[in-house]
């Protein structure tokens, strides 16, 4: 296996196609939703790798593949050099404990009938069956790590605010000392003033414990704040990837530029190059020919509709799929 020896997680040529429901499948015409259509990337230890892109482009599907909640149609995911879809027995259990997740909705992701202490301790108890006292000590430590009072252990989810619930979800994800945490829109359901609290918490925990994050967010400012590497996805494909700094200061792909220009500056009167896109996001069932972005791209030319651009490295560590370059 080639690749980057310093990576924790490597994804190569990953695809996930779903059989489409709806009218056509009733007529037994086989159509596929090409949710993820051949993506490759790697995540380094202690770093945050982020996927950005609009609704339906395949971000959550990618996360589910990493979490073994879906089987890939093609491609491989390697963790510590091992293909995660080949893992069995104790190695599979080890993977499941080293890779944890925090989801968007802190209202539905926690079991309403369990106290915070049991929610947080559950992965620990299931995996290691430690003595009661040790569990209690660990829960206290975890609550402290996420900025909650030890007394919060006795509360049920409905007794917490949205931000506090997300803290409980983070504590649970930390319980087994994971090396990777998948964060699917961890702050987008939270209020503005609470969002900053959770973003700082995530950043502090990474600095303290050195785990990697696989972050999904549609808010680019959130991504910029937390990420080391960023990949931009459009209709199942990565169209641009670079370090966070490079991507936000020197975006090259027209779609990335449009996304950044749409992520309005929070100051009035700050003028910047605006790239407005016309048209709707095409369906992942019938992605456009050639460059999938060509139906909305302001720079489209002849070649774009016929030939799919390949990802090319235009600067060290900065790859782009666009015929302009």
């Amino acid at each position: 296996m080639n690749g980057h020896s310093d990576s924790l997680l490597q994804v190569r040529g990953l695809k996930k196609h779903f059989a489409a429901r709806g009218l056509l499948s009733l007529l037994s015409v086989r159509t596929w939703v090409r949710a993820v259509d051949g993506i490759s990337f790697y995540v380094r230890p202690g770093e945050t790798f982020s996927l950005v892109g609009e609704s339906g482009c395949g971000k959550t599907t990618t996360a589910k593949l990493l979490l073994l909640l879906e089987q890939p149609t093609a491609g491989n995911i390697y963790f510590d050099g091992q293909d995660i879809n080949q893992l069995k027995g104790s190695e599979l259990r080890r993977y499941r404990s080293l890779v944890q997740a925090v989801f968007q909705d802190p209202w539905s992701s926690l079991n309403p009938r369990m106290r915070a202490s049991s929610i947080i301790a559950e992965p620990l108890v299931v995996n290691h069956k430690p003595p009661k006292q040790e569990v209690q000590r660990r829960v206290e430590q975890l609550l402290m790590d996420v900025g909650l009072e030890p007394a919060a252990a006795a509360n049920y989810p409905h007794e917490f605010s949205g931000g506090q619930r997300q803290r409980v979800a983070v504590a649970r994800a930390l319980a087994l000392n994971p090396r990777l945490i998948v964060l699917d829109e961890p702050v987008s359901a939270l209020d503005v003033s609470i969002r900053a609290q959770i973003m700082n918490l995530l950043r502090d925990l990474q600095r303290k414990y050195g785990m990697s994050y696989f972050l999904i967010a549609h808010n680019l400012a959130t991504v910029r704040y937390l990420s080391h590497q960023v990949a931009v996805m459009y209709l199942g494909l990565i169209v641009e990837q670079a370090t966070s700094e490079e991507l936000f200061t020197k975006p090259l792909h027209p779609y990335t530029k449009a996304l950044i220009s749409a992520a309005l500056p929070t100051q009035p009167g700050v003028q910047q190059e605006r790239i407005l896109l016309s048209g709707e996001v095409p369906s992942a069932t019938h992605p456009p020919s050639g460059c999938r972005f060509h139906t909305r791209c302001p720079f489209v030319f002849d070649r774009c509709a016929v030939e799919a651009p390949q990802l090319r490295e235009l600067a060290p560590g900065h790859t782009v799929a666009c015929h302009l370059y």
Binding site: A196, N200, P268
Partner: protein, 323 residues
């Protein structure tokens, strides 16, 4: 013409009466809206933005929600004294609302064309060919492609962005003077949102529309609004011109909010945070509702709600620091 007052809201109070007690959802809200102007109403979830809009439209969810007092003047006419029948005549024609979730605003069993035709038939008495022409014109104005054939589509056959434009075309159909838009783009993707906002501004420029624009996104405020009113726990705590609010916020909450929002074009090392969370409307603290989280809190803040003070031209704030 650009400076004529069209909507005035004075000391509006809408409370919830439930098993939990009395919830002060809207607790003495006042603002003015002028022709051709966009006033942003910003604040965190639950602070009372939607209830303010619904109360102005007289669409608040009764019987639990009751408007206790205040005035809502449209062209100087008091809306709170009108009967439901009189309100129905006004809604759509003079003042219309765009809801946050376009799916709840549209009826799934009727075509877009049907839903668009209804207000045109009622308010503008259009029939037949002229009705059809106007409906097509409206969809075109909102840049819905293939407008003629789209009239026969059902809401679920539209994408999110198209639904929001369909809802907006219905709201704009009878040329209202005021649009109340409650987070109209929150459910949209960013590139679709950007296009929608441009379109709305364009329509506003053409028809001198006044817009009350609810959002919790300061980026959207920066792009859309002429003036901003910041809400916290049922009250407007600061109002200013957009530029002024961003450059010199006067209220500690506004200041803290602006500092805690990360920006896409700057890399920062640490986000500023406001500790704690907004109070429950069923259990508001005495005095200033921001006091439990405020870094500048003093004794009198906990005793009495600060009066509204003008700190500059068209810049008002409710905070004891400015009294």
């Amino acid at each position: 013409m650009g400076d004529t007052l069209i909507l005035q809201v004075r000391d509006l109070k809408t409370y919830f009466f439930t098993k939990r007690g009395v919830g002060k959802a809207v607790d003495g809200v006042s603002f003015d809206l002028r022709r051709g102007e966009t006033l942003g109403l910003v604040g965190e979830s639950g602070c009372g933005k939607s209830m303010t809009c619904l109360s102005v439209m007289r669409l608040h969810p009764g019987p639990a929600a009751r408007i206790l007092s205040g005035q809502v003047l449209l062209h100087g006419e008091e809306l709170l004294q009108k009967t439901e029948k009189e309100m129905r005549k006004l809604r759509g024609k003079h003042i219309a609302m765009i809801l946050q979730d376009p799916m709840t605003a549209l009826n799934p069993v009727f075509t877009i064309g049907n839903q668009l035709a209804e207000p045109l038939r009622i308010h503008q008495k259009l029939r037949g060919h002229r009705l059809l022409q106007r409906a097509i014109e409206l969809l075109r104005m909102l840049q819905i492609p293939a407008a003629e054939s789209r009239l026969k589509s059902f809401p679920h056959q539209f994408s999110g962005g198209m639904r929001q434009r369909a809802v907006s075309s219905i709201a704009l159909s009878c040329d209202p003077e005021v649009i109340v838009a409650d987070e109209p783009t929150t459910s949209l993707d960013v590139t679709i949102q950007a296009a929608f906002l441009e379109l709305l501004k364009e329509i506003q420029r053409r028809s001198n529309l006044a817009i009350l624009f609810v959002t919790h996104d300061f980026g959207v405020v920066a792009r859309m609004c002429d003036r901003v009113a910041v809400m916290y726990a049922g009250k407007i705590i600061e109002t200013a011109d957009t530029q002024r609010l961003f450059s010199t916020p006067a209220h500690p909450y506004t200041e803290a909010l602006l500092k805690s929002v990360p920006e896409v074009n700057v890399q920062i090392d640490r986000l500023y945070t406001i500790e704690g969370q907004p109070p429950s409307i069923y259990d508001l603290p005495a005095g200033c509702p921001f006091a439990p989280r405020c870094p500048y809190v003093e004794d009198r803040c906990r005793q009495e709600f600060p009066p509204v003070k003008q700190v500059a031209n068209s810049h008002t704030v409710s905070c004891w620091r400015h009294v």
